[in-house]
């Protein structure tokens, strides 16, 4: 029996582990599938991490090292190269590695911190051939930054997510020619600063409302046909144009990896693709918590660490039997606000609620309704899907509520 098992040794897992340790839990085990702690941060060699939590701009590996040092200093045990195969509702974890083979651990509490994966090309139904030379941006990042190999030299990128933008700059610096970044939506999904420093700096065109309609090349990509799309995101025939290239990178969204969560019987939010949680980041299976990109996709690792600290503390309270929960208040959204995390509140305390909007909105108010009554209102000059928003709901506002409705209004 282990008090707390943390699945994933990335920024979320390490932060949850140290937070739980600081709350007095000693019997902790982190299970990490990679050969290092740090998760995907190890390949995110660009800077821009840590401004919120450390007050300085760090690269991904440096940010990860800050937490890894803490894990090592506190002597929190971790197993590397260890893949979790199964989790049950009773918190039995089955994992495998080369030394121990397949083994099981009974945990008192579990923190899920498995992160997310990239949406793959197959999911997009792009017509044409299926040659070599098509990579998700993160895969190309692994080839370039970790393995030290160049996937190609003439690149078109579909999707303007941050990893795609970062890879546009990275490949350019390593000598590739990035010919265009096509974004299906009329706005970019990436951070404004990345459009500046990764595209504008290198004169790489960002083509909004454009998509790749066909891939060419038999053995290796030889080009793509792109087209402008109409308001229903259907390609406009007359706008088709051919761009020769040997590489197509995709940065078309991230999906929380919740296959294990499903096996444990945890119910998922079909918008976030992550677990339904309360303010403690506890899922609907008691004693199983979730945090970081496995819960919902974050823009900034700093917020991942903060959220994971909540999960770690809550798991500690659960193990220590000090966690009290009341009746659940359900948080609903109006569609313009797509989701909230948490999706419900079960304790009478101040709660930081995170959410994303469905489109680009200007000069709007975020209103929170209890019945017909607006209990919270905040003005927002601009809200965009690419940027996670948050508000703090004070505990006195929550009293007597059964349901709160989040709305974006003029």
């Amino acid at each position: 029996m282990t008090d707390l098992v943390i699945i994933g040794g990335g920024p979320a897992g390490m932060s949850a582990a140290t937070a739980a340790y600081e709350c007095g839990i000693r019997d902790i085990l982190i299970l990490e599938r990679d050969e290092n702690l740090g998760g995907i941060l190890q390949q995110c060699i660009h800077n821009g991490f840590g401004l919120h939590n450390f007050g300085e701009e760090l690269t991904g590996p440096e940010y990860a090292w800050k937490y890894e040092q803490k894990v090592r200093e506190l002597g929190i045990p971790f197993k590397l190269n260890t893949m979790v195969l199964d989790i049950t509702e009773d918190k039995i974890i089955t994992a495998t590695n080369e030394e121990e083979g397949i083994f099981q651990i009974q945990a008192k509490a579990i923190v899920l911190a498995m992160g997310c994966r990239e949406r793959a090309k197959g999911a997009l139904n792009i017509a044409g051939t299926r040659p070599a030379g098509i990579y998700s941006a993160g895969t190309a990042q692994k080839y370039v930054n970790m393995k030290g190999y160049m996937p190609g030299k003439e690149v078109v990128i579909l999707g303007s997510g941050d990893i795609g933008l970062i890879m546009a700059r990275r490949m350019t610096l390593e000598g590739a020619k990035v010919k265009a970044v096509c974004e299906l939506m009329p706005y970019s999904g990436g951070l404004a600063r990345n459009i500046q420093q990764c595209l504008v700096d290198f004169d790489i065109p960002l083509l909004l409302s454009h998509t790749v309609v066909e891939v060419h090349g038999k053995e290796r990509v030889t080009g793509v046909t792109i087209a402008k799309v109409d308001e229903n995101r259907r390609p406009i025939e007359e706008t088709k144009q051919y761009i020769s290239c040997d590489t197509l990178l995709l940065s078309v969204g991230l999906i929380p990896e919740n296959e294990l969560s499903k096996r444990a019987g945890i119910s998922l939010d079909h918008i976030t693709n992550g677990a339904v949680v309360d303010q403690d980041r506890e899922t609907e299976v008691e004693g199983i918590f979730a945090c970081g990109n496995v819960l919902h996709v974050h823009d900034l690792v700093d917020f991942v660490s903060q959220e994971a600290a909540i999960a770690g503390k809550s798991a500690a309270a659960y193990i220590q039997g000090t966690c009290k929960k009341g009746a659940a208040i359900t948080l609903k959204t109006d569609g313009k606000i797509r989701y909230t995390v948490p999706q419900k509140i079960t304790a009478n305390k101040d709660v930081n609620v995170y959410f994303r909007v469905a489109d680009v909105f200007r000069d709007v108010r975020i209103n929170v309704y209890k019945g017909e009554e607006i209990i919270f209102s905040k003005k927002k000059a601009k809200a965009a899907p690419g940027e996670m928003e948050s508000i703090v709901l004070k505990k006195d506002l929550l009293e007597g509520a059964e349901e709160l409705r989040f709305a974006l209004e003029d």
């Binding site: 139904n125 070599a132 290796r220």
Partner: protein
């Protein structure tokens, strides 16, 4: 000097090779691609048809029924997944009912067992997710599903274990008739052989023409598919066909032996035998027609789409004959080619005998091949035994499908060994899950590079020209 050279390492060439490897013959399989199962075999519906489609008396009818009878045992021997899930041809109108009745009659004539026409109530019990508009269906309990490339890899692997030789990247450019034997030539190599079996799929007309047989042609018919996540694999349990038309059996909806949901194929005659591109029109057609059958197919759970080319012969039936002494055609093998493959192999052996070949059973012949998915399906204790012996079975490389390094190494080391990323994929399912190789492909490239003793950047996706990296950073 070989006794037999089989041209083409698809499911037909593979099954023939395996059948002939039971005899005392010196065998070679010549394949133009970098792997086996690279043509029509790689991308089709994976159905073992019951046998009610083909015209009574045709070779198709005879060999389909026989082939589907043989299939379970062959799958068992070769450790290939096979699921006797049964099939349904569903009808929406009285006109459809007439076709279904005709299929029933035809099936009975062809000797298909257990056929039955079921009405809506019973049908909805069998398949609750079918459209409300469905009227009746032909139920064929002997219909089944398998995995065509797995079957082919296993058949050729088994043939190789029994002494057959495999020549990859061997594109036949010329066949010369010599005194009592043939020379089969590629750009680089010459194979001398007493007999040739032409199982070259789409190119079997070209191969036949090399010995002067121009009695038939083969043209490609495009079939596009959309494959969905395993989460959707239970939407239907039977293979769901529409009533057939001249162009084929329409868009089907079926579970796969790996638990995914497969929808397709489109059916468009084209000219280019290499054009396996998918089309936007094709996707729209698949989605529209599949949803007519099963309305709730969640296409947002699509994992991948692909396209295969069926080798449609000009005669309307399978072409199995000996146009020249010692030269045997197994050509024009369109649907139900996979289902018929075991029977086609038997028949090819018969034709070979007629041509004077002596088929002496080989004492050392061993028909069993260990299943490629043996590790995956073992219990924990059994797995731990294997990990103790070889710790690489403890290390997961493909996280989506939970495929270990040991399984990947085995796929590279076992006949016919994987030579590229796609080869590893077809043998192990690594890269075939939700992330489609996003996480694991750089690692698999490394394993291939080490095992094959080639530089990292020389590893390909699928043979020559399909390079994955152009070279080292800072050096290109």
């Amino acid at each position: 000097m070989f006794d037999v050279v089989i041209i083409g390492a698809g499911v037909i060439g593979g099954m023939i090779a395996r059948t002939l490897s039971a005899y005392d013959l010196k065998l070679c399989i010549a394949e133009k691609e970098n792997d086996v199962a690279m043509g029509a075999t790689k991308a089709n519906s994976a159905i073992v048809h019951a046998g009610f489609d083909a015209k009574p008396g045709s070779l198709k009818a005879k060999l389909n029924v026989r082939g589907s009878e043989l299939m379970p045992q062959i799958a068992e021997e070769l450790g290939v997944k096979y699921d006797n899930n049964g099939s349904l041809v569903i009808g929406f109108s009285e006109a459809d009912r007439e076709i279904i009745k005709a299929l029933y009659e035809r099936g009975c004539t062809n000797g298909v067992k257990g056929l039955k026409i079921v009405e809506k109530d019973e049908l909805k019990k069998l398949e609750p997710n079918l459209s409300e508009n469905v009227l009746c269906a032909l139920y064929a309990p002997t219909g089944a599903i398998t995995c065509p490339y797995e079957l082919t890899i296993a058949a050729i692997g088994n043939a190789m274990d029994n002494g057959a030789q495999l020549e990859l990247n061997f594109e036949v450019k010329e066949i010369c008739e010599k005194d009592g034997y043939y020379e089969v030539r590629s750009d680089k190599k010459v194979l001398q052989t007493k007999y040739i079996i032409n199982a070259a799929g789409l190119y079997s007309d070209k191969i036949a023409a090399m010995v002067g047989d121009t009695s038939f042609t083969v043209h490609p018919r495009r079939g596009e598919y959309i494959l969905l996540d395993k989460e959707c694999g239970n939407l239907v349990s039977h293979t769901i066909f529409r009533t057939p038309s001249k162009m084929g059996k329409g868009i089907l909806v079926t579970p796969t032996v790996d638990g995914n949901l497969l929808t397709g194929p489109t059916s468009v005659d084209i000219k280019d035998k290499e054009d396996t591109s998918t089309t936007a029109v094709g996707f729209d057609n698949i989605i529209r027609q599949a949803k007519e059958n099963v309305p709730d197919i969640p296409y947002n759970k699509t994992i991948t789409s692909f396209c295969g080319l069926r080798a449609v012969g000009s005669t309307g039936d399978f072409i199995m004959n000996a146009p020249k002494p010692g030269f045997i055609n197994a050509a024009g093998i369109e649907s139900p080619g996979l289902s018929s493959a075991p029977a086609i192999a038997e028949y090819a052996a018969e034709l070979l005998k007629e041509q004077g070949a002596v088929l002496l059973p080989k004492e050392s012949y061993h028909p069993i091949r260990e299943a490629q998915h043996a590790f995956r399906e073992a219990g924990i204790e059994e797995k731990n035994e294997m990990i103790k012996k070889d710790k690489s079975f403890g290390k997961i490389v493909c996280r989506c499908e939970a495929i270990t390094e040991g399984e990947i190494l085995r796929a590279i080391r076992t006949n016919p060994g994987a030579r590229d990323l796609d080869g590893v994929k077809r043998r192990t399912r690594a890269q075939m899950g939700r992330c489609q190789g996003g996480f694991c492909s750089p690692q698999i490239v490394e394993l291939l590079s080490k095992e094959l003793g080639i530089p990292y950047e020389a590893v390909t996706k699928s043979g020559e020209g399909s390079y994955i990296n152009i070279g080292k950073t800072k050096e290109v």
